[in-house]
Amino acid sequence: MRIALLNGSPRGKNSTSYYLLEELSKSLQHQDATIFTKATLPSLCDCLKELDVLVLAFPLYVDSMPASLIDLLDVIKSTGIHNTKLKVYAIVNNGFYEAKQNHVAISMVWNWCKTCGFQKGYAIGVGGGEMVRFAPLGHGPEKNLGKAMQELTKHICEKQSVIDQYVEPNFPKFLYKVAAHYNWKKQIRSNGLKPKDIKRKL
């Protein structure tokens, strides 16, 4: 079985999406799974005809896909290759706590699949994306996500579709907010500015 993993994050290797694809690639150890990026998209297009599975991973940007990912999807569509055995899965993460806020972006992936003539697998919508790399998958705040990723691995191997899954951190929402606010203040200080500068109006 040939599996392609496409990183749709503008942050490249330094992204939650790439991290999740790497983890997925590890757990798909006996499969031929390669991570593709914008730079290697031509080779993905070259093997599109033979692919069995495509997994997209991307962050939520302004309630949908990052523009750079729409670009990649346009390129794949423009090849005109209707590989009807290709099954598409997606992992979409956002910085808000609620995983459901990814649902529009996920619907857009399915619209793209339909346009291209690919099969719909299913998606994992991940809330609290900024926390994903705080703990190993399956542990602490990432307990639920680890389980969802394990199930995804299994479903990919069997080319199964289930309903879209929405996963939030095993961590209280109010603390996520407190931690985020603390973190922004810490970061602005490290840039030599004061917390009040965050609210600057132009």
Partner: protein, 163 residues
């Protein structure tokens, strides 16, 4: 009333409206957001990528109405329109607010604008449904005064309505 039109086609048509509107043509494609968060923690309110999109966020804070004209693409905006919108998160603060039990960003500016989105091009009903949900979500996150979504088969029909 100050309005801005964000569009990606028909350069010949819109200059007619230049006196009353700010025009932002999404072509050639502006540079993509790189997700660096500089607009929140390094140069608050403004994007660190220096190109013609740099003032877009600031302009959003001055308008009463934002008109977006985009080909419908998988139930959303085209790649070119989306590149401009992705660069606009400095319009918001990184801090969270809770609205109807959901997390959204706090606003940097007090002024609110109305958002009118005109999607054009042939599309199926499910694409329209997704596009409506997308604009609803945008409106909530951008804290707009009001928002409307319209669908037209042909971009010329949009121009006819607007001109």
């Amino acid at each position: 009333m100050k309005q801005m039109i964000l569009y990606d086609i028909g350069e010949d048509v819109f200059p007619m409206m230049k006196q009353e509107s700010l025009l932002f043509h999404a072509l050639p494609t502006v540079k993509d957001c790189v997700g660096c968060f500089s607009c929140w923690i390094k140069t608050p309110g403004s994007c660190c990528i220096k190109d013609r999109c740099n003032d877009f966020t600031k302009e959003l804070s001055t308008i009463d109405k934002l008109i977006i004209i985009s080909p419908i693409t998988y139930g959303g905006y085209s790649r070119n329109i989306k590149a401009v919108l992705d660069r606009s998160i400095g319009y918001l603060l990184p801090y969270f607010r809770t609205f109807h039990k959901e997390t959204h960003h706090q606003m940097r500016y007090d002024k609110q604008f109305a958002m009118h989105v005109y999607f054009y091009g042939p599309c199926e009903q499910d694409e329209k449904e997704v596009a409506k949900q997308l604009v609803d979500a945008n409106a909530l996150n951008l804290n707009t005064r009001e928002h409307h979504v319209h669908f037209y088969n042909d971009v010329n029909d949009v121009y006819e309505v607007l001109l």
